[in-house]
Symmetry: C2
Subunit: 316 residues, 2 copies
């Protein structure tokens, strides 16, 4: 892979890891980010790198997208509303706009610029509550969140663009991604627990019944998998689950956070219910044989990934 590469959402937790690795490889990298949840500090050290370019702008601003896309020959599209949670009272068009319409604007700009290679950050939330575990990529998509629904819509649109406009596309369905970099908004379970225990180390409110069990993957490993797949399967339309095959319970994450923070005797208070919030998929593990067969495998279990992320967040 060589040439100029665009990373949308490149100031986010995963996007900035990706942009950093690409710059370290000597690639010319453009980052497009509106800094709504990404942070300038995540790309601060890249700003002076040769060939690095930062376009502060929104996917819904066609002018900004055109500016970012010009001269590029591969796009890693990670910009999106990062928060799966829908809290009653939230607007219901946030994901439609930032995921679905934003992705359409990008696809359209790519098409008109003759840019034919797109790697897309999708999500395991597209599956909803699967009847089959671990979930293979061929499972039906029955999303239960607006986030998952619009990501599924993006996937469908990308499938059509692949066919109609001869684009090579990679769709990556992420497990829960954790890492050192915490988002400006849209808390993950780890940063939520750390924040709460800092305020009051005697007790911890845990969303749901604590038995939710999901696959976790480090942002740095997620980035390695995307780089691997785009190089190893260079043409066509590909869909890959990215994660590890074991699940980790939310209660266990609480234990790990409390242990690392050195607080003992924390009283857990569960909000109750199977899922943590409306649209939460309480239990999932991904079948990752497709990406494994391509030569990539997660180096850490879910628990190892979460331990690593806790350590990284608390030591910065």
């Amino acid at each position: 892979m060589s040439g100029r590469i665009l990373v949308t959402g490149g100031a986010g937790c995963i996007g900035s890891e990706l942009a950093g690795k690409l710059v370290a490889r000597g690639e010319c990298v453009t980052v497009l980010d509106n800094l709504s949840s990404g942070k300038r500090e995540h790309i601060e050290e890249l700003l002076g790198a040769p060939g690095f370019r930062f376009v502060e702008g929104d996917l819904l601003d066609r002018g900004a997208v055109d500016e970012a896309v010009a001269g590029v020959n591969l796009v890693y599209h990670l910009a999106a509303n990062p928060d799966v949670k829908f809290i009653p009272g939230d607007p219901t068009d946030r994901d439609l706009k930032q995921n679905m319409i934003g992705t359409y604007v990008l696809l359209e700009s790519m098409r008109l610029h003759g840019l034919r290679r797109l790697a897309f950050a999708s999500t395991s939330a597209v599956y909803g509550i699967s009847q089959v575990l671990p979930i293979p990529e061929s499972a039906p998509l029955r999303p239960i969140s607006l986030y998952g629904a619009t990501k599924a819509g993006c996937e469908a649109m990308i499938s059509a663009y692949h066919h109609l406009f001869a684009m090579d596309c990679w769709i990556f369905r992420f497990a829960n991604i954790v890492g050192a970099r915490v988002r400006a908004r849209g808390k993950t379970v780890i940063s939520d627990f750390i924040e709460k225990l800092r305020l009051d180390p005697s007790r911890l409110e845990i969303l749901g019944d604590g038995n939710q069990a999901k696959s976790y993957l480090l942002a740095s490993e997620c980035v390695d998998a995307m780089l691997h797949a785009t190089a190893a399967a260079p043409t066509g339309l590909h869909v890959f689950n990215l994660g590890c095959t074991d699940g980790l319970s939310v209660r266990r994450i609480a234990d790990l956070v409390a242990l690392r923070m050195g607080v003992a005797g924390v009283e857990y208070r569960f909000t109750g219910g199977e899922g943590g919030w409306p649209g939460d998929v309480p239990r999932f593990v991904l079948d990752t044989r497709a990406i494994n067969d391509l030569g990539w495998k997660a180096g850490r279990t879910s628990e190892q990934a979460v331990r690593h992320a806790i350590e990284a967040i608390l030591s910065t």
Copy 2:
């Protein structure tokens, strides 16, 4: 089923059949249609029926949608861009707006009006070129048209609304629907052939290689299937293929049209290629066991349905 029923796209080929049957059953029916491809003449005879209401308006006009939704307790959502074809040079946002965003506006209006029952006209185009034939509802969705992609996006959004807002939803993936009523725009293969042979009975241009083979279903049977399913499976989220299990080739349809029009020795000219146009799925038959198990089965084969439609179009 009783109460007030809304049919979006109710002046279209399928929608007006549905509205007519509901009125004949004594239901109070509202039709919402922007008459972009539906025709006023399709609902002319319904306008005086007791409880019938016509709202001329667009799905993207929230005021019109709110007006149509008020007082309703079941929606059959058929309004959409009706044309699967994408011709290079066409706008690429037509399906995004009229299918995806229009469906979102409707879902949102329903949610805010406390309306919890939605039957949705989807399409077999969501599957794209399936590896498995006949195609079961559980097959992966890899649409190759913008039409199919945005219908898949609508399905995903409906799945999320079902879960988040306790809606009962029926998703119907239609085979190719044929019938007496011809659209104001967006030709079907039958009306295309009839038009061409009327202009010049000596030759007929056929898109593709003529070997495309698809499932056809009469609009009236499609309507019966929807009415059956919404009554027989009253709650939950359901996905049904609607069609018959045999396929019919485009070349055979040309023969049937020429035969019925009494023109002999027509020279067929094929534009070539597997599909008729970019985004055309050249061959498909649907696995209809789910709707069969619910007690409904198409009464006609594809050829019988097409013969019936040819007869109906030519005799009006």
